[in-house]
């Protein structure tokens, strides 16, 4: 039936809506054309847990995410964007100057980052949750992934580079290394056959 040219032409009619097209939701644009092309969903997934592995805090992992976060907080029906247990405080003027709407940002501190991360992911109150956790176990990461799906939230977990050897339930894993101006990304896990590296320079007008 699929090969029937008459049927195929009929189904191309714009008034016909097919359920299949709704399920193919495009990813969240990263703000970098090269990175959009590199990632499996043509952007960050909108739902689910992703992992970014860095050798040192501050290697450029936040800058990679920032254009997408800015787009999320400026959307018409924006939910919160929560930072769970960040190692330092985000600098509000810098975030504002990069286009982030500050009244969608919440910072959660406290003694139990993993618990807070899971609660925040699963609450449905957030568009994105960024989390820094010490050494989460594979089972805990699975719980985070399920919570992110429950809350229809993008969860970003920052982990040390040594965690690359461990199994993980995250939908996307990226390794990130700093360059002089920009970062080098390696896709470790994702629905894509690409395993090459991507050197992503920062735009010329970025104040770094």
């Amino acid at each position: 039936m699929a090969g029937d040219p008459h049927l195929a032409r009929l189904l191309e009619h714009p008034a016909i809506w097919r359920g299949r097209s709704a399920t193919q939701r495009p990813g969240l644009s990263t703000g970098f054309a090269a990175l959009d092309e590199y990632l499996p969903d043509k952007g960050w997934p909108r739902t689910g847990l992703i992992e970014i592995l860095v050798s040192r805090f501050g290697s450029g992992e936040l800058s990679v995410l920032l254009p997408a976060l800015a787009a999320l907080t400026r959307a018409a029906a924006a939910r919160w964007c929560v930072w769970v247990a960040p190692p330092l405080m985000p600098f509000a003027p810098a975030l504002a100057s990069r286009g982030i709407v500050l009244d969608r940002i919440a910072v959660v501190g406290g003694a139990r980052p993993l618990w807070a991360f899971e609660q925040t992911l699963g609450s449905g109150a957030c568009d994105a949750v960024l989390g820094w956790a010490r050494q989460p176990k594979a089972r805990e990461i699975r719980r985070l992934q399920l919570a992110a799906e429950r809350g229809r939230t993008l969860g970003v977990l920052f982990r040390p580079r040594s965690a690359a050897r461990e199994a993980s339930a995250a939908v996307l894993r990226l390794r990130l290394e700093p360059l002089a101006v920009g970062v080098r990304l390696t896709l470790l896990k994702g629905r894509s056959a690409r395993r090459d590296r991507l050197d992503l320079p920062w735009p010329a007008d970025w104040p770094v």
Partner: protein, 476 residues
């Protein structure tokens, strides 16, 4: 609340019509037609001289509801009870008077009680100190006439003017021509006189006793496990949810008592961020509190107590699922903040705000949690526009995404700052020299630097001696 039916005139007696068939009219006796209509209401006015506690008055009104469901408050020192229907239950007016007096004496308030067909008449007689019992409409004006005008509690100035006219009693004021009285002394006073005599209905707001929720559950066996305790508490929370939903109320505070065999009762006090009527949400929150609590002994009974529910209009439900298209987002984000605070402490959740400031560390501040609920379309556009304009006004300075709580001194090697290895300065200098006017001035030369791992840092050198190097931020 309770519309009163006042017959305009006595209805003609139907029996007279029936008997009149074929008989000459003039022979009919007319006495039954002229009979006065029976009164429809009988009000008991309770005046408590020197009573001024609104709280006690409410308590007394609650007690008075055993005599009649229709009680209304006349603060600060009066109560009105409609007792027509209750007379036969308390052995008539005299029996009711004895019961009510006894009830008031419990509050150390000896009352003056008067009974009349209109509420204002009963109250006025009581205030005048006359324990009248007017049970027929015809006696009303005659009995009220000798009462002093002061019992009506009119303004002093009106009373003085009336006194100058020689009018000191209610009877005298009722004899004045209506039009002239209204012109000279105001329509309000005339309306009061009409309510006094029953010409116009006097609608009094009914008193409703405050309700509270109290439900106890005795457990079949003694429990120590938090999870099982929560399961045992679940029916109580369901009952609380139903109680609140039926009354369109919500609670802000409630108490959960855990009863032990030997030890004193453990009290767990919950306070909610906003009025909540959802039993399940309260149950989840109570679970957080119980988890943080150490039980001194096994629990054999539990009790849920919710004082003073507040009126609550349930939110209109959204077409979207929570979180979808911004649907019900306000509710879920409020619940999230409550849950995080319950476990992590009251200041677990923060928002970020910008501040006017010259020093980098004073340009931002932590604030309370961001406003719940997505902004409506227009506000959102305004916010976005404001953000754009801020960006335009805000010169794109080199600022890091992460800031240290306080600048951290960097060790020096051969005069160069180090962090694991020597730092490499990769930018032009930016001098920030400000705040000299308020005693906390800074004079710093800021640079962007990379350490040996390639991490971009925001460092500065003090311009004043000893020219120390400090780390202030990470570009990230």
């Amino acid at each position: 609340m309770h519309p009163r039916f006042i017959p305009a005139a006595a209805p003609p007696a139907p029996s007279a019509d029936r008997e009149s068939v074929g008989a000459p009219l003039r022979n009919i006796p007319r006495a039954p037609v002229l009979a006065l209509p029976p009164i429809l209401e009988l009000w008991a006015g309770v005046h408590l001289p020197g009573f001024d506690s609104a709280e006690k008055l409410e308590l007394l009104a609650t007690r008075a509801q055993q005599f009649t469901p229709r009680v209304s408050l006349v603060p600060p020192d009066g109560l009105l009870l409609e007792v027509k229907g209750s007379l036969h239950l308390f052995a008539g007016v005299a029996g009711l008077r004895a019961e009510l007096t006894g009830e008031c004496r419990r509050f150390q308030a000896p009352p003056v009680l008067a009974f009349a067909p209109t509420p204002l008449a009963a109250l006025t007689a009581a205030r005048a100190g006359r324990p009248l019992e007017i049970t027929a409409a015809g006696q009303l004006i005659g009995q009220l006439a000798p009462l002093p005008l002061t019992a009506l509690r009119w303004p002093e100035e009106t009373l003085a003017r009336l006194a100058r006219l020689g009018i000191r009693t209610i009877g005298a004021v009722l004899r004045l021509p209506r039009a002239g009285f209204a012109r000279r002394f105001g329509v309000t006073q005339l309306a009061m006189l009409d309510q006094l005599t029953g010409r116009t209905p006097d609608v009094r707001p009914a008193f409703h006793a405050r309700e509270r929720f109290r439900r106890r559950r005795d457990l079949g066996c003694e429990l120590t496990d938090h999870g099982r305790l929560l399961t045992a508490l679940a029916p109580l929370f369901t009952a609380l949810g139903a109680f609140l939903a039926a009354r369109q109320c919500a609670v802000v505070e409630l108490e959960c008592l855990l009863v032990h065999r030997q030890r004193p009762v453990t009290r767990c006090r919950l306070s909610l961020a906003s009025p909540c009527a959802d039993g399940q949400r309260i149950a989840a929150l109570c679970g957080e509190y119980l988890n943080a609590m150490r039980l001194p002994a096994p629990v054999r009974a539990c009790e849920l107590l919710a004082e003073v529910p507040v009126p609550h209009v349930p939110d209109s439900r959204c077409l979207w699922q929570p979180g979808e298209q911004g649907g019900e987002e306000a509710a879920v984000s409020g619940a999230l903040v409550e849950r995080l605070r319950a476990r992590l402490g009251p200041d677990a959740v923060h928002g970020l705000t910008l501040r006017e400031g010259h020093r980098p560390e004073s340009t931002w501040a932590l604030s309370g949690p961001p406003p719940a609920g997505s902004l409506s379309g227009r506000t959102r556009h305004a916010a976005a526009a404001a953000a754009c304009s801020t960006n335009a006004q805000w010169p794109v300075f080199r600022r890091p995404l992460w800031i240290l709580p306080a600048p951290r001194p960097l060790p020096l090697r051969d005069g160069w700052p180090c962090r694991g290895g020597p730092l490499r300065l990769v930018s032009e200098v930016e001098r920030i020299e400000t705040g000299w006017w308020d005693g906390a001035g800074i004079a710093r030369d800021y640079y962007s630097a990379t350490d040996i791992h390639g991490v971009r840092l925001w460092v500065f050198r003090e311009r004043a001696a000893p020219h120390g190097w400090f780390l202030h931020g990470v570009f990230g």
